[in-house]
Symmetry: C2
Subunit: 537 residues, 2 copies
């Protein structure tokens, strides 16, 4: 593999480095900064069935290259490849692999373990999908064990076939079951990588934050993790009954697309993924037309294996003791980086121009919003109100307060508000905080700011690691940060000058239109993939 | 995108950096080390038809993310992902994109231009397929303009439909025609990136070396380049008549697979690539069974558009004035890195063990080979003879001498012979020299050796850049290197102590078995893709 630092010696010999796990020996690589083990198989699974743990082996297995990632229904060049550089990789449904970065192979080292759950909804992505997910720097900087993992996605991970036979009872949640199996692997094997199996943090962003929330609501995961971080991932999926109904309907449509009646459901297990995914995609489109809503692959809240989203069911009392961090970034899906080049110079707009754009978007609510925005963010251009996320932030504050009200242990809320130099000033986009959490921000082209980046990522990666270590993100050099109470929402604002503010944007969130404001890129008519490319704007 | 160096400021604003090409304005990014323009569209093409140059545009186009790469029939996790780290990327047949790294946007800078043609036979790969292809370091270190490009491959680039209509006359060579179109783009546009359109070097490795050779034999490319480098790419495709015959037969089988008769050939133009590629793969397997040979996608030597391989036709006199470099690496397809972990400690073998393994492989030829090897490489373990490439090296020496004999201008031959520390000592594998040519060797995990790597890549990238500048690789600090004559083959051996030797291995090449010795990984029974993965050895 390529390394990021120049002139670094790497060891990968026949007998070094070796991790001695209870299942068998694994050979990885040793850089100057970490031991790295890539592509460790943690489970196997029959399609639509629950995963089974990997069995023990003789001899030494190589863990020096990444494993397959789960197939995606489509893999375009993403519109955000510059701001969120993706790693693509060969896809195959035998995708139950994980990766480990650590400072020690001493089983008595007992370092905190941070298990990353990737985003991409429940449909796309992988444990190596972003360059920012590379755990080497975080492991080195904070002496933690970082784990990232792949699991089943989309039609492979979340197709609800429960109506077609007992053996498929959990098919709508096998993607989550893979994650549970990976957490079991961590529990049983991570000591061989210097990790503490009794101090495991699950953290994830976007869909990965959703997965963290889902795990909190899944009895099968109890005891496998001890802290939880939900980054830009609080989004209300709506009533469970409605989710179940849509999943059921999607499955019916998928079978229709393939011309299969209920007696032939088992044929789904053997057909090529390409065929299955085309049928799933068509069913998805039909369902959207029928319902007028957007179907998204997601765990099926059956009330037992997955209890349901806490907005509807409350948090399970079995997880109320788990310390939780949750937060958002300033502009999430509505960042100005999505506006066409040459037309997004928000920092050059006059106040009148900014107010004009605000009125176009928000109409009558504009004056109240602008006033509330200036109170929340003194001295900022009102243009920023145009791009400020309210959708995810509002849901996050709501969920945090709910949890505090239900007697949950410490719940910390943050807001990442760094303006990047890209495009003459770009507000924090969905995913923008990840490199700062992973101590990789010094590598990212669009967001590196001398001095600022170093300080901010020390604060953030330090807070995440302190939270992993002891359930509290406060650490020396970090501004004081209080947990949420039922009444108030203190928010740690990560910025060039970070600091805590209490309900600073309550009036702004109140003034902004409710409901989801569609990101600019989703408002655009979707172009056929043949014309989608880096220069087809 | 992620950058490799820490803490580097990158500029990508609305009005900076802009390249003013004759076709229109392009916005790229400016790092501390280079201007980078990614994903520049250079052509469009109807499937199986000749490419047409990109048209002019108004306003500013973004060139900040890479463009689609050509679809591959299959994309597994490659067995050599550790030693040759690949970049995977979304695939689409609209793939005519190129990338530029340069030190200047001054149209009067007139820096040498180095256009890289990627390997992967003519079936796989892309201009960004290896991390090592990143042009930033080479551009910076040697003040050259580096271009890499994508073009059509496999069934899209080389399916010979010439028997089915005049409009398909060149379908068996449209992949090469894309490259010609890219070179035309360079001729017309590269001054806007500080490049000299009258000093263009084409260089490529493996299949990319094949492409360089093919361009020398294509009248359509004359005048578009001025020096040529063939790295590990000299391999005899056999008689042109036989190649044409096999291509014709493959097309017939492909049509049979799809149930199409000659009157319905145009339907091939509209079917999904997935369908076309499955049929092509099946036809390929059938053809191999019928012929007992391995069909490889490659340009069709029609005698006009592509004259044919120089072993058969001689070099075209129109290109005899082009200075050429060609070379190989020590172990090419037979490097010991392919042996299973724990069983490849060649440097720990006794002389007796080494001779035992040699006898297993070479039988009666062993004694003579071992003696010749020790003469060629004094002091080395005879184990290395087991892994030494003779197949590509022999063809390279033969072609170089042929060219000198035909009156070709300076032809320089090299041999890359660096043993890497990976796996307790690994002989130079196919692709191993590429990071040294691109000045990226300090980033590669398996081959970095403190002190040695820095010196060797200065020599090599310096030689390539000097050759690009003036048609002669000699430069200050580089050992003296003479061109080949018809009689003798001086070889620059790139090693910790580089130096020229004349016909040093002639006796060894003579003693080794003729014909191709299959690489270890090709000798293995091919496993179905469902069981191919990083731990399925």
């Amino acid at each position: 593999m390529f390394i990021k630092k120049l002139h670094q010696q790497v060891i990968c010999n026949h007998h070094e480095p070796i991790a001695h796990t209870p299942l068998g020996q694994l050979r990885g690589v040793k850089t100057e900064d970490a031991y790295i083990f890539r592509g460790i198989r943690y489970a196997h699974a029959r399609r639509f069935h629950m995963p089974e743990a990997e069995e023990a082996w003789e001899g030494v297995r190589d863990a020096i290259i990444y494993g397959f990632v789960c197939p995606e229904i489509t893999t375009p060049v993403p519109h955000d490849q510059f701001t969120v550089p993706h790693v693509f990789y060969p896809q195959h449904e035998d995708c139950q692999y994980l990766n480990v970065w650590t400072q020690s192979l001493d089983e008595n080292a007992k370092r905190p373990v941070m298990v990353w759950l990737h985003g991409g909804g429940y449909a796309t992505g992988s444990g190596i999908e972003h360059y920012a997910y590379d755990g080497e720097e975080l492991s080195k900087a904070k002496n933690v064990v970082v784990v990232t993992l792949n699991h089943r996605l989309n039609v492979l991970g979340y197709l609800d076939l429960s109506a077609y036979g007992e053996e498929y009872a959990l098919s709508g949640n096998v993607g989550m079951a893979d994650i549970v199996e990976a957490l079991k692997w961590v529990k049983q094997n991570i000591a061989a990588f210097g990790g503490d199996p009794d101090n495991v943090t699950i953290f994830g962003q976007s869909g990965g934050g959703g997965k963290v929330t889902t795990l909190l609501q899944m009895p099968a995961a109890d005891g496998l993790y001890h802290r939880a971080v939900i980054q830009s991932g609080v989004m209300d999926p709506g009533p469970a009954a409605r989710v179940r109904e849509k999943n059921k309907r999607l499955t019916e449509m998928l079978l229709e697309e393939l011309g299969l009646d209920a007696s032939r459901v088992s044929e789904l297990e053997d057909m090529p993924y390409a065929q299955l995914s085309v049928a799933a995609d068509r069913a998805n489109i039909r369902l959207n037309e029928e319902t007028g809503e957007r179907f998204m692959w997601a765990p099926v809240p059956d009330g037992i294996y997955y209890v349901g989203y806490p907005f509807e069911t409350g948090f399970r009392k079995e997880t109320l003791h788990i310390p939780v961090m949750m937060g958002t970034v300033f502009a999430e899906f509505t960042s100005n980086f999505d506006t066409p080049a040459g037309n997004g110079l928000k920092n050059a707009w006059t106040r009148e121009e900014a107010m004009h754009h605000l009125k176009e978007k928000f109409g009558d609510a504009t004056e109240k919003m602008a006033a509330a925005f200036e109170e929340a963010y003194p001295g900022r251009t009102p243009a920023d109100a145009l791009f400020a996320d309210t959708f995810v932030r509002r849901a996050t504050v709501r969920l945090a307060k709910q949890r505090a009200g239900e007697g949950g242990s410490a719940t910390f809320v943050y807001l990442f508000d760094l303006e990047s130099p890209f495009n003459d000033g770009t507000l924090a986009w969905h995913n923008a905080e990840i490199p700062y959490v992973f101590h990789n921000a010094q590598y990212l082209e669009p967001s590196y700011i001398p001095g600022v980046t170093e300080k901010l990522q020390e604060e953030m990666s330090g807070a995440w690691a302190a939270f992993a270590e002891k359930g509290d993100p406060n650490h020396p050099g970090h501004p004081l940060w209080h947990p949420v109470t039922g009444d108030a929402c203190p928010t740690m604002i990560y910025a060039p000058e970070s600091g805590e503010r209490i309900d600073h944007d309550a009036a702004f969130l109140d003034a902004a239109p409710k409901g989801r404001v569609l990101p600019v890129f989703l408002q655009k008519k979707k172009e056929p993939s043949s014309s989608f490319g880096p220069q087809s704007k």
